[in-house]
């Protein structure tokens, strides 16, 4: 097991290096300039922009910039944002709590909905409950989050006026009022995101439970006289969850990456909106840091999912 982990981690290193190289090259090739606003402002002499570019090393060859980035990244220096001139890690740490809170609640909401609904639907396939749940799931993943988000805003904020649609990271209220306000402003984004997760996961849970309940060992468990509850939860579901675990694990890096579209609609100051702002402003150090950490997390969670398999299914061994 230890050997396996070590090997996987070593394999991850070249992949990370490759990822960073590709990311950096793509960003270098992309058009745009962080000082675009200076270029379009006729009152600012072009020399100012050229001096800024030279100062930040933007005019050096791409390979030189990459090596520079890599060496400082290895020393734990993430660089600083071109537009705000503050350290990238400070920027990310400022945004992380909100993203983890919102996406985390959405993932929990998604699981809480998807697991029971998926299992129930699979236990009684083609029943009314299954049909309604499946229809809703199809609607859920066919409608993009930005559309549902706008519908929610239109209904709950504008027509009914119940919920605010501008998210504020630092509410001025304290005590229980803070919790109420926080709840009010989080309801819409968490529901929109959570429902999108739930819709697809529910379909996976349903189909994998359906596959398992027909197997002989489930029939054996039933014929042993175990209660239906124990049969489904302990015998069928545990095996059925293996593919679902991979799926959920691969979504978890989003806790860090944020939900770009949803964050933009509700003005949530999370990592997703940081990333999109950085992309729009061609702020390379921020884009690099966010995307790189995101890809590192994807690799990590992949590994985590593989390790979880072993716990769920003792037949799998690591060599």
């Amino acid at each position: 097991m230890g050997n396996y982990l070590l090997r996987r981690l070593l394999i991850a290193l070249p992949s990370l290096l490759g990822i960073s190289l590709v990311l950096f090259t793509v960003l270098a090739l992309a058009p745009g300039d962080p000082f675009e606003e200076l270029a379009t402002n006729p009152a600012v002499p072009p020399e100012v922009r050229l001096a800024l570019r030279a100062q930040l090393g933007l005019d050096d060859p791409v390979w030189q910039r990459y090596l520079h980035w890599l060496s400082s990244m290895l020393q734990g220096n993430w660089g600083f944002s071109f537009v705000s001139r503050i350290d990238v890690d400070t920027l990310i740490l400022q945004r992380l709590p909100v993203t983890i809170a919102i996406v985390g609640s959405a993932v929990i909401l998604g699981l809480v909905v998807a697991l029971p609904v998926g299992i129930l639907a699979a236990v009684k396939p083609y029943s009314w409950f299954d049909r309604i749940a499946s229809t809703l799931a199809f609607i859920g993943f066919s409608l993009p989050t930005f559309f549902i988000g706008l519908l929610f805003i239109l209904l709950f904020s504008i027509e009914l006026g119940w919920l605010p649609f501008v998210f504020r990271a630092d509410l001025s209220e304290t005590g229980w009022r803070w919790w109420i306000e926080q709840f009010k402003q989080s309801v819409m984004p968490v529901t929109v995101l959570g429902m999108a997760f739930a819709a697809s996961w529910m379909r996976y849970v349903r189909s994998s439970v359906l596959d398992v309940v027909r197997l002989d060992y489930v029939a054996t468990a039933r014929s042993k006289g175990l209660s239906e509850r124990v049969v489904i939860l302990k015998h069928a579901t545990r095996n059925a969850l293996i593919p679902v675990v991979t799926l959920v694990a691969l979504q978890l890096p989003q806790l860090f990456g944020g939900a770009i579209v949803t964050e933009q609609i509700f003005r949530i100051p999370g990592i997703g909106s940081l990333l999109i702002d950085a992309i729009l402003r061609n702020d390379t150090p921020v884009i690099m840091a966010v995307t790189f950490v995101l890809s590192a997390l994807v690799i990590l969670f992949n590994l985590l999912a593989d390790v979880l398999y072993g716990w769920l299914d003792p037949r799998i061994s690591y060599r």
Binding site: P31, G32, D33, F35, E36, E37, L38, A39, T40, N41, P42, A43, V44, P45, P46, V48, R49, L50, A51, L52, Q55, F80, S81, V83, S84, R85, I86, L91, Q94, R95, S157, I158, G161, P164, F165, V166, R168, A169, D170, S172, Q264, I265, R267, P269, S273, L274, D277, L280, N282
Partner: protein, 597 residues
């Protein structure tokens, strides 16, 4: 309008026959700015008008609750000297103040200055090289330290150091600033400077505290904690800041103006999009004020109908215009496309340019696309008949365009497209991807088709078009097409640097990596001479006449076709009283904001 006529108008103002405001409006109609017009009056000895602030009703400081404003692009730092756009200036303006600000009529409004320098009070020297500012007494920084002349001098040193990489360096690098006593500073310009109110004034002039910034000069300025947590003299004290998201402030109990500010707390939320911002103020009332609403007027009107807020539109220097290429974008001369040595095959004929001017239906563009947020213009539009220049006019007339082209020998071929020799009137018309721009392109294309000119429309993503990447063929600086359209912004009240975009030494070409500002590559010796002369012309009226003439030269030659003038729309809650100015930041009068009860 020439120098003589402008003098006549000034005399009328002096005699009280023409209201001051009327004069300023006429000058604005000529393409000059209100601050410039007001400087002219000041020099002629007409006293400045008292800034027409709405009556400030609150009788004590505070008690107004929280003021919540929405900036759909939030500031990413709070150092005004690094601001690349207005968002950082606005965020900084909550905490920092300049010596004086520009009101909407172009008057200088003293903030940290005790009075505005004039020649009468000895503030402006006779040769126009020395300006003496008297500072307000008893002003303190948020940390309790006194504000003095040392702070002002320090800001000059800070900005002019190239290692600071300030976007304002051009304003400060050639002047000299000295402290005369604890509350007097003297600015010495290298040459006579008629428009002296640029350093330490308005968006360019916010003052940082010396006692905190002194250890962070030059390259070390990036490490200054105050870039994220400002300590200023403004009406609100800093509470916290998250780049791109939120700026918060709390009432400054020691603010230097009595009974101000009215609000106990201040919040500037950033992010999202312009329509959402308009909605949060006009429709749901979640926020009190939203800035720079680049939204179609139709939508603004619909939101306004909900009755929670109102849209205010203030003038500014933005012009949406079409450029006809002076050079040949399709053939290389000395290995360079659109080389300044070449001439555009069709546009070198004045008749074609004149026809193009006649085929831009500015009125429809205003009526059907921009509404209140884009006013049809040819610079001379709003002027009384007697001042309207004979050389520039604005007309939409397809028949006339046909006649002009016919007379110049451009005959329609079998395909309905006019041609002369082997030159066909087929042009590529490019702009950035932006809905109103694509609609404008369609309107022009339609009219041109009726006159036998075929336009191929091209739209380039804004990030590429304005990106300034010199390896990319589609940037507006390269202008490798026959025509292009975009908005040019005039961020400073004085047109000197703005008008440099037609000087021959500013030609954007290969040798300067297209980083210079003359993008149309239009040039004229007369224009160059006027521009150089205006730089040191001390007589404000003569100088204004020069700018009017420069304007005329550019327009009359037909390569530049102004389309609409784009004022700045913003939204405010119905009860909020917020004086705005088109010549300064939206936050210029923040201490005077209050809510009617």
């Amino acid at each position: 309008m020439n120098e003589h006529q402008i003098r006549g108008l000034i005399d009328e103002v002096k005699a009280g026959k023409l209201p001051r405001r009327g004069f300023i409006q006429q000058m604005v109609g000529l393409g000059l700015t209100a601050p410039m017009a007001s400087m002219m009056l000041m020099q002629a000895g007409v006293a400045q008008a008292q800034t027409a602030m709405p009556t400030y009703k609150p009788t004590k400081r505070g008690g107004g609750g929280t003021l919540k404003v929405l900036w759909w692009q939030g500031p990413v730092h709070l150092n005004p000297h690094w601001a690349t756009g207005t968002k950082e200036q606005e965020g900084s303006r909550i905490f920092y103040e300049p010596l004086a600000a520009w009101d909407n009529d172009g008057n200088l409004f003293p903030v940290l200055a005790a009075e505005v320098p004039t020649s009468q009070n000895g503030g402006v020297s006779a040769d126009g090289k020395v300006i003496t500012w008297k500072l307000k007494q008893g002003v303190t920084w948020h940390d309790g330290k006194p504000f003095t002349a040392d702070d002002v001098v320090f800001n000059w040193e800070f900005i002019k150091d190239p290692a600071t990489a300030s976007s304002l360096i051009a304003v400060y690098k050639d002047i000299k600033v000295e402290k005369l006593d604890s509350h007097t500073v003297r600015i010495t310009f290298p040459k006579a400077t008629p428009f002296w109110a640029e350093p330490f004034v308005g968006t360019n002039g916010m003052i940082l505290p010396k006692h905190l910034f002194a250890p962070y000069m030059g390259a070390k300025s990036r490490e200054a904690p105050m870039n994220m947590a400002p300590v200023g003299t403004g009406p609100y004290k800093f509470v916290d800041f998250k780049p791109g998201d939120m700026v918060r402030g709390a009432l400054n109990p020691n603010y230097h103006q009595p009974n101000r500010p009215y609000f106990d707390n201040f919040e500037m939320k950033g992010g999202g999009d312009a329509i959402g911002a308009a909605r949060a103020v006009l429709q749901t009332g979640e926020y009190d004020y939203a800035w720079n609403l680049q939204v179609e007027d139709e939508i603004l009107k619909r939101l306004e109908a909900s009755g929670k807020g109102k849209v205010t539109i203030v003038p500014g220097g933005n012009i949406e215009f079409i450029l006809l290429n002076v050079t040949d974008p399709w053939n290389e001369v000395d290995g360079e496309r659109a080389s300044v040595k070449s001439k555009h095959p069709a546009f070198q004929d004045k008749a074609v340019r004149e026809a193009m001017g006649l085929l831009v239906d500015r009125k429809s563009v205003e009526d059907f696309i921009y509404g209140r947020t884009g006013v049809a213009t040819a610079n001379f539009l709003n002027n009384p008949e007697r001042y309207r220049s004979k050389t520039t006019k604005f007309e939409f007339n397809v028949d006339k365009a046909n006649q002009v082209l016919e007379a110049a020998g451009w005959k329609k071929g079998a395909d309905g497209i006019r041609a002369k020799g082997n030159v066909k009137l087929k042009f590529v018309y490019q702009t950035s991807v932006n809905q109103p721009r694509q609609k404008t392109q369609a309107i022009v294309k339609d009219a041109c088709a009726k006159a036998g000119i075929e336009l191929e429309l091209k739209s380039v993503t804004a990030a590429v078009f304005f990106g300034g990447d010199f390896a990319n063929p589609d940037t507006y600086q390269k202008f490798w097409s026959d025509m292009q359209m975009y908005t040019t912004t005039m961020t400073q009240p004085d047109p000197q640097t703005f008008m440099e975009q037609y000087c021959s030494w500013e030609l954007a070409q290969k040798e300067n990596k297209w980083a210079k500002r003359n993008i149309s590559r239009w040039r004229s010796e007369e224009y160059d001479k006027l521009h150089t002369a205006a730089q040191s012309e001390m007589d404000a009226v003569k100088r204004a006449a020069m700018f009017v003439k420069m304007n005329e030269l550019v327009i009359a030659d037909g390569y530049i076709i102004p389309v609409v003038f784009r004022p700045r729309p913003s939204a405010a809650a119905l009860k909020l009283v917020a004086p705005l100015s088109g010549w300064d930041n939206d936050m210029w009068a923040l201490p005077h904001w209050y809510k009617e009860s």
